[in-house]
Symmetry: C2
Subunit: 382 residues, 2 copies
């Protein structure tokens, strides 16, 4: 039955909930993207993005999904004949490999079982034997599994072998996990709009350090829409090369101002607490975490024996309006994922665990109902 | 500290949460209120309001709060020298008396202690001695105390004594409690936009049966803005006499369509369940209900000894973004109130009780945290 009063509680790892103030800013009258008014907004957003990326480097706003920014990283810093390492911990690690393969880059893959995280010694062992790689691609947090990787450590290893550039997919981690682009000397960091940024999908971001910007000038891989030479040139006049998602940029400005006011360190602490409460709540219902090193932006949970994980996701949304994510690819039906990203708070965790408990109970999983929410309250009360 | 990421969960008995779809309809371009486009909307809304009031009578949309519709009821059906009975069970019963007094109507008040409900025998005892009253004013649900009154029974008593008109304040009850205007032969029913109607404040509604419409023609109390003769005349051309809140009426149309699709009987059941879960959750934390006959649209709870009720409301909002209502007037600090109105669902109850538990714990009230939310889940799971 279609329920016109269904209240949607979005707990998925992107898109994430958007506040009404930000949503209403989307409804503002469109302005032209070659005028002074837009220029001012674009420049303000770019400055605020630097604050978020913890960088003095250039940050570009692209009108695309996060995958577009991933592709931009590949096609702007590499050249024909380059070799790259992919640290693959899940679906998005695989995506790096696929993009690189599409551009004919030779890939050395270090692949981990889903749920596992990058071991620095594995990287080191490979580089010890052969360090002729032009870049290392990795995920800060792997959204498909809920794992966090030690990108600071990865860069430290890379520095020992000729300072190989490290390209970080921070699509899901940005704003949710500590990330210091300059301090950690990360070379390229990419992200998207619909996760920690608290706005709808449609924009992506790419930050590059000076060394990488020089590479951009010379890179000979084919590109057009994602060419950062264009992006850089146009930004000098306060513009984007192609018509950008103007209204989504209105929303970006609103969201960035809110984020700045709240403070990024406070945000990190916020999600840390939400993730902790979720993990403990889940364990109190007798379930197991999936990630071997869980991040704070998405908690992945093993579906218990005898329960169909796709039903958990479906029924939880249909019955209680609480929308979580299931597992991707081989893990479909085997894990479920709760996000702690963007415009989410304690009460979202309470609802998430409440919805999970009610749904598991209806699906016949045996446990004492209420243990999960009680544990969540204990964490927040503690 | 101002928190720009505070997520507000509105659990107050008006205003109530408004869905994004309805909010965005407010942002539509204003249209002129004397044109065909607006006429169509006004007529459609009025038809849908009849469905909600369960009446074939005329229903008028006023641009005012619910109190405006209360005043409209008084000044349009009474005459100088008339006498009225007020069945006073709380702050809104008192409001009837104040409005009537302002127009010089002699009031016979049957006043109950807050938390108590109208006893039909009290009305009957008065009418037995003297039935020379031109109207009986009452509340269907008394928002200040969370009590429901038997308006069907009140009308049955009134009929035995010369069919005295019964004027019902259904501001908070409409859509939340069963109400059959025609079947129960209610004479006047008034309501507002910001409670069960799921739209922002700014509109009120008044439905009158044929006998009352005749009275409107002759009533000699002073009035202008709330004159229903004007309202009736203008409605014949699909208009309102004064410039209405056009954009709020856009929202009204959106909300009424959703309500019609969901079905009013389903709504009644929805709030019944939400109220039941709230009551049981509250009792599981060791608290007592305030209302002697609790309604399903607002649950009032006695603040436990040693706790300041105004702090509960304040801290719950400040710490957890969950906004409930405190007690009014003499009951300030002594009771707190949770609404189950409009665009609220099971997860709102979960959050409400979670917020209450966390706040009470911080305020030093001793109980085992988690008992309330567990009980709520049990009710929804049952």
């Amino acid at each position: 039955m279609k329920n016109p009063l269904k209240k949607l509680r979005l707990l998925t790892p992107g898109p994430t909930p958007v506040s009404t103030d930000v949503l209403l800013s989307l409804a503002k009258e469109v302005i032209h993207h070659r005028g002074d008014e837009f220029k001012e907004i674009l420049v303000e957003c770019t400055e605020l993005l630097k604050y978020i990326f913890k960088t003095e480097n250039d940050v570009f706003i692209l009108t695309s999904s996060g995958t577009g920014a991933m592709e931009a990283a590949v096609v702007n810093i590499l050249n024909k004949g380059d070799r790259a390492i992919v640290l693959n911990t899940g679906a998005f690690g695989r995506r790096w490999k696929n993009i690189l393969n599409s551009y004919g880059i030779e890939v050395k893959e270090i692949e981990y079982e889903w749920g596992d995280y990058v071991k620095l010694e594995d990287l080191e062992n490979i580089l010890k034997e052969d360090s002729n790689y032009q870049a290392i691609f990795c995920q800060h947090t792997e959204t498909s599994t809920g794992v966090i990787n030690d990108i600071k450590g990865i860069k430290e290893v890379a520095k020992k072998y000729g300072d190989i550039p490290v390209v970080v997919d921070a699509v899901s981690s940005l704003l949710g996990e500590e990330l210091f682009m300059d301090e950690w000397e990360l070379d390229v960091v990419v992200s998207g709009s619909q996760k920690g940024m608290m706005i709808p999908p449609g924009l992506s971001f790419i930050a590059l350090n000076k060394k990488m910007l020089e590479k951009v000038e010379k890179s000979n891989l084919p590109k057009f829409y994602f060419s950062l030479i264009h992006a850089k040139n146009y930004f000098e006049r306060g513009q984007t090369p192609w018509t950008p998602a103007v209204n989504t940029i209105f929303a970006l400005k609103e969201a960035l101002k809110i984020i700045k006011e709240y403070g990024i360190e406070n945000l990190w602490n916020r999600y840390k607490k939400l993730a902790q409460a979720t993990r403990e709540g889940v364990k109190a219902i007798g379930l197991e975490l999936f990630a071997k090193r869980p991040c704070n932006v998405v908690t992945s949970i093993k579906v218990p024996e005898g329960v169909d994980g796709t039903r958990i996701v479906k029924d939880m949304q249909n019955e209680f309006g609480v929308r979580i994510a299931g597992g991707q690819r081989e893990y479909k039906g085997k894990i479920v994922r709760f996000a702690h990203m963007g415009y989410m708070d304690e009460m979202d965790v309470v609802m998430g665990i409440a919805g999970l408990e009610l749904t598991l109970s209806k699906l016949g999983y045996k446990f004492e109902i209420g243990n999960g929410v009680r544990k969540v309250l204990e964490v927040f009360n503690g």
